[in-house]
Symmetry: C6
Subunit: 267 residues, 6 copies
């Protein structure tokens, strides 16, 4: 069974620059067998951090992108008809519990209520997963860990996480990386020199300052890397910045014009 | 059949510190074969109390976390296709009735209406469970008991329990444990000395006083234990308190700042 | 077929104290083959009355607790796959029609529209049940009777019964039993002496007077019996009254305090 | 095939007292192969009229009570699994078209939109029923007739019939029968003498005058017959009138009192 | 395959009186392989026009009445279980594409979004139908044509056709036929002489003038024909006009009175 | 497997006139393995551009028209019953990932949330598609590319793309082609001479100026081509312009009159 999840082990160490004490906190939670909640904006590195920790801890990582049609059945498993018989197929959460993997539910608030509730018995001292459709219960091995993420910036428009769910997690807050880290990341992942990376990060900070002035969310580190990659493929930096840093984040003409001005001022 | 539920018996006595006359009341209700409703905030010990009573009474405990997609079929049972034939599989409620277990429906208001109604004939003097899909009725043995819980703090935002359902239960009210009990619990479960436990409980009380000032619900005993556990794993108490007592319960910047001030003042 | 419903016959006469002419009215409706609608608050004895009449008339009683997911299929029957073939299974209504039982739909307004409409041809002079999924129609024998109940106190918040449905029934109005009857019932069913029963009924009347002052519905006879039963099991009468007459019916602090005052004043 | 619908033929002439030219209009529509829409309040005799005309025309009558979960599949037919194969089963509409029966859709506005649209090609000069799930079309024989009913009193609260549907029918308006007819009907169907019947009809007219003063809909002829039948079974006329003419039609205390006054004044 | 749709060929020329250049426009669109959108009120002759053009062009005509439960599966086809295997069954649209028929989606705005979108690739220069459930794509032969209709009078209350759908069609506007044409149609189809036909058309025009004065939609040519047919079957013209031109189109008492006055004034 | 998608390769180069640097940007994104988002109004050439690039890059193109019932199952694949066994069938997205095709999700905002989320792991550096129903994950080959489109003009009325989705794409903005390009396109595709094409484009520009004066969206290049094609089939240019440029885009009488005036003024 352990073998079956080998493919969920990360082959090489993901690139991640620690920012504060997040590695220690995660290790302590893992060792105390506490579930972890990662809070932070889109594209600030939450997923990468979980991949990094899974690699460091030597555990397989099973990721599920949550959405409003994700049912507990999708997570836990279902019966399928095979050769005239219904055969049980483990869902990703059951697979993770069985094999002591790290299960990462990305954007957990998007999931349906039954999906959120199914993790309750896994997140207190019982650490067990009831599989109601089979009438059994499986106990999580010490290696199993549950990590969920959500973006508090959406909190007001979308359904919030219930307190009875939230209060089952140790919560770590994430934000975009500090300037120097972000420059290093953009240069390395985008394949450009530090000068251009610094310019792109400068643009990124100026765009993030537009939040509260009509911009829903700041530009992510990922988009800064896209701009770098487009330049590395021969596109003019200004054109690259427009398609990577302006058009993806807004459809508003005024905002678009402001962002384009930022781009041409810096580059 | 009795054997099949042996796995739902608790192997060792769960740690529970009685607060008032709750044990006597539960015993009387059990002996009078009355269903019990537990009311109280998130993480104040309702689940632990039911586990404790189930152990003391020597009954298996079958717990179902209710959610808005929980159907009566999920509780009672369903037909599954096996080798060209539909075979009946008991749901958790049916299993509990058949074997004289204690059935605990956690956060029952979250369940769908059909789920709530299915328990009606079990909660009056008929004490029977009609299994409409099979066209049969099973009578509950004297040992069977139904316990449900709900959090009245949610009452205004979520759908309330109907009077025709509520008036079928003896209701016991729970709250966070008294100071000394809570210190003992945090020290024991969190693996820390009484001094730190006392500090954490002090923080807990101060945070609970913020209810009505923007905080939806107070910090639970469970989170106090998390903070203790993180410290026991080597994390600085202030950092541990932040990830366990602040970030999980609010996304609001102002509230977060107030809670952090409480933490640094006490620790 | 008649045998199959034998288990729905009541083995011994249910305890019921007639209040007015309700027994005569029910007998006349039965003999004129008219369907009956019982109106009244939660826990005032409607279900017990139907059980009593079913026993007196010597008919099996098939009860269905209605809820908003109850479909006409649940009532009429469904095809199930058995050994490669779909086999028809009668639902409770069909079973009642076939065997000349009394079918009692409890809280009929809760059911879905298709469920309510399916009873139309059974409730006029046709007295027939079309089983559309099988393309057949079955005629009700003279012994068959349909009884439905609903609580007009909910009428304003829930969907009302349509006139085209209501006007198919003879309607009988129920309320809590008169004082002396209620004392006799509480003493007998609760296993306490008349003095305590009288005190509990006094408390019940005072609580019912709070209706219109924030209390949604009065305390039912059933809860008065619960309080008596808890006392009979050794609980202090005041504590018993609190868990049976106060906590189940309100979550409001002010109301709770008023009810507790009533309890301590009387006991 | 024709034989299969023999059971839908009425065995004896239903009792119906023609009021105006409705029989001629229906005969003309039948002979011109036009579909008919019956408009009128609950229990005024629309269903009885259709039964009467079906008997007079010597056609089987297939009635479907429409409700908001009635799908086109329910009307047209479905595939069912039988011995490893899906076998087609005609729905009531298809059965009616095939055998030249009269198909009566009672309260058609209650049905889902797909159900209403399925009758469109049957109600213009094409007179054909496409069975999309089988990929075939069947032509209606000259004997087939479609009749639908609806209650315009509900029109404002429920979804209205679309013009594109309405304009496919010849529409006949119904109301409660004139005084003398209604007395004859109540006496005959209720099994009472003309004096009591006259009194009950007088009460009925007075109650109907309360419409617009809080009463949603007047008391139907059917309920007047119920009151008569209860009296014929030995119930006191005033008590019979209360359970048949007052309690079924309103839950409002004031209205109830007014109706009871009408009853005691007349009887 | 071509044979299978033979039954969708019209056996004889439908009666249609061309009003303007609609025949030329339709022929040009057919020859340029452009899809056509017919706009106009209920019962003004859109369906008849398509039948006429299908006959003239010698193509089979497959008509689908759209409704809000019509899914893309209903149009494209589905798998059905036959003798232990799922077998594909073409839906009406697929059948039309395969055989080069004219596919007519009547009242297309009523259909679900997935139904509307499925026609997109058929309505640009690709002219292909992807059958996602089978993973194939079929190319439409030159003879295939898609025609849809909708009633812009409903546009404000119902969901509108999206621009991305509308801009895929050549659109032709329809209205009730001019006076002389309509008289000829009513006389011919209704089986009455020109004098009565003229009177009925006069009534129709007067009623149509009530639009904007409470009348949702004018009386259709079809209803004028109904009135004529009822008269031809021996009903008095005024009674025939009432059941065909007044009752079907309104439930409003005032409007009904106005229409009846128009009828008695003219006839 | 590669062979199976051969039919998705475009046989001949689609006609496309590049406007700015869009071809370079697309090539750079393809080479950097970045997903692309195309923004622009209905019928401005986004689909044609993707076809053109797919041809130039020599990749198969799998297009999916998104709609609000498009589920992740439709995209990824499903189990179907074949000869007593459930057999997996790849959906279009899985097929594209497996074979290194370009997958084009047209109007992606229309799709359900689960459909949008399923593409997340494909659009960051993981480039993998988890197939949860099979419990496997497939890695995208370097040739695979994901392209999505949406129309920001609808953004305010429909659900917007979430930032967590948008920030995964390089975004390119499209608009109607410049005058000379559009004339060339209309002449070539519509089969008319440049004079008429110029007139039609002039009309198009004037109609587009009505946006903001009641017109939801401007007339598309596709409709200009339709007008040309109708003329080429012998229809008078003014009549052709009316059915192609006026009736399809508005139901408003005033707007219709304004557009007709534009047409008659120019032609």
């Amino acid at each position: 069974m352990e073998l079956a999840v080998e493919k969920y082990k990360l082959a090489k160490e993901p690139y991640y620059l620690p920012v504060a004490n997040e590695v220690d906190l995660f290790n302590a939670a893992y060792s105390a067998r506490l579930p972890v909640l990662l809070k932070g904006p889109t594209g600030c590195g939450k997923t990468r951090f979980v991949e990094y920790m899974a690699f460091k801890l030597g555990r397989p990582l099973i990721t599920v992108a949550c959405h409003e049609d994700l049912s507990s059945t999708d997570l836990v498993g279902r019966f399928l008809l095979e050769a005239n018989e219904t055969v049980w197929h483990d869902g990703p959460l059951t697979k993770a519990v069985r094999s002591g993997a790290i299960c990462y539910l990305d954007e957990v608030v998007e999931a349906r209520k039954d999906t959120v509730v199914i993790i309750h018995p896994l997140t207190d001292d019982r650490r067990r997963l009831p599989i109601e459709k089979r009438g059994t219960v499986i106990d999580a091995p010490p290696e199993f860990m549950l990590v969920v993420s959500y973006n508090p910036g959406y909190q007001s428009v979308l359904k919030d996480l219930k307190q009875s769910t939230r209060q089952r997690f140790v919560a770590m807050e994430f934000d975009y990386p500090p300037v120097d880290s972000e420059i290093a990341i953009v240069a390395r992942e985008g394949g450009v020199d530090e000068t251009l990376a610094r310019d792109l990060v400068t643009i990124g900070h100026k765009i993030r300052n537009l939040r509260g002035h009509g911009l829903e969310e700041g530009v992510s580190t990922r988009l800064l890397i896209y701009a770098a990659q487009m330049t590395a493929k021969g596109i003019d930096p200004i054109a690259a910045a427009e398609v990577a840093l302006c058009s993806p984040i807004t459809d508003d003409r005024e905002l678009g014009r402001s962002i384009r001005e930022i781009i041409t001022t810096v580059l």
